[in-house]
Amino acid sequence: MTEPAAAPLPPVGPWQWGRVERVRVENPHVRTLRLVLPEWTPHLPGQHYVVRLTADDGYTASRSYSVGSPPDDAGVIELTVDRLPDGEVSPYLHDELTVGDEVELRGPVGGYFVWRGEAPLLLVAGGSGVVPVMAMLRHRRLARPEVPARLLFSVRSPQELIYADELGDETTIVYTRRTSDSSARRAGRVGEADVAAVAFDAGPAYVCGSSGFVETAAMLLVDSGYGPERILLERYGPTG
């Protein structure tokens, strides 16, 4: 918490309209929008964009979404959006927006929960908290494959996985409600043994998910010997 910020960040870019190039279904309530940006700037893995919707009477609603794609994809970003039934923005991004449409957004934003491509990666994600850490893993794969990385990914069931095709040897999946047939671990919340099995002497540990998940996972990391000052948290507030 007290460490100085590294290199200064570029200012947050202007509002711009990005065009939906592709839509990918990740699971029944999560989809990824691939957007072409006219004023693209490279983001740091872990940063987010703000999406703003405007109604015809001028009413606006905006929410933040983490970028899942790596900065190596020039000119485009991918936002992975969890559809919240009572949300205001995420249902629009799921139900209204289609390929060829444009959506207003601004970014990249956020200079804390970011990976600058150097330190070994210890990642802990709950549900859609996997999105910003996937930007880190993808950037590592493309630019820094020699950097060690481990991901502990907690999801309710195999049907709830996000980026399932891309989870490799670096990833340990914990199912909290229902396991896959091949899983030896019983369904249940992330516990001490799960965290101890992945923890290693990395750089900062990145923990992302709901507030409750993040607090629990971070305390387990502390119990396994990780100093609180080396744990970076990203809590998913109410989006939608």
């Binding site: 109604a55 205001e88 507030g237």
Partner: protein, 202 residues
């Protein structure tokens, strides 16, 4: 103005003008957004210090803070992540009470609030004086929960809520502006929600 095709908006605030631009009413929820691990703060050893550009720096213990004149805030709070919480209340004391005791010197123009976690945020002195900032330990009549900055936090409710340091431990007055934790990471130095000062340059 360019419209988002097909967007009508579901969460319009009640009375017009009640919500700052780009904000929505979160209702009775109070989301937790903290970058750091929730610390453990023990009131038996907790103190608050006001120092820097002052005639007489001073540190108060919890019993000493409780003996100062009480003050409360009834109104709204606004988070930069676009939620606002309307008609809420906090009880504690006015930051004016602490500043009056230490007597800021004429060159004191900015303040830095620091948390038990090392979190910092910067504020022009005009934003923490004149009945605009509080040190609080009660929320809606109950002890302030730890995840919301309890047992004791600062609130500066006319600015975005990242300016309201949780787990407050000190206020340092300076003769210059010194950007804090989020401010060096791209967020605005002042953070006025009515002017949508979210990021540097807004």
């Amino acid at each position: 103005m360019r419209v988002s095709r097909g967007f009508t908006g579901r969460r319009r605030g009640g009375e017009p003008g009640r919500l700052p631009p780009g904000q929505y009413d979160v209702g009775s929820d109070w989301p937790v957004l903290t970058a750091e691990l929730t610390p453990r703060v023990d009131l038996d050893s907790w103190t608050i210090t006001v120092n820097g550009r002052v005639a007489q720096p001073r540190t108060w213990t919890w019993p000493e803070v409780r003996a100062l004149p009480a003050s409360r805030y009834d109104g709204d709070i606004h988070c930069v992540t676009t939620w606002s919480k309307l008609d809420t209340s906090f009880a504690g004391l006015s930051v004016d009470t602490l500043l009056d005791a230490v007597r800021p010197t004429p060159e004191a123009t900015f303040a830095v609030a620091t948390s038990a976690t090392g979190y910092t945020t910067n504020l022009p002195i005009e934003d923490v004086t004149g009945g605009k900032a509080w040190i609080v330990w009660e929320h809606e009549g109950r002890p302030l929960p730890i995840e919301h900055g309890g047992p004791v936090r600062m609130i500066v409710p006319h600015l975005y809520f990242w300016k309201s340091a949780k787990w407050i431990e000190s206020i340092t007055l300076l003769d210059h502006d010194e950007p804090g934790f989020w401010e060096v990471r791209g967020y605005h130095d002042r953070g006025d929600p009515w002017r949508e000062q979210r990021y540097q340059g807004d």
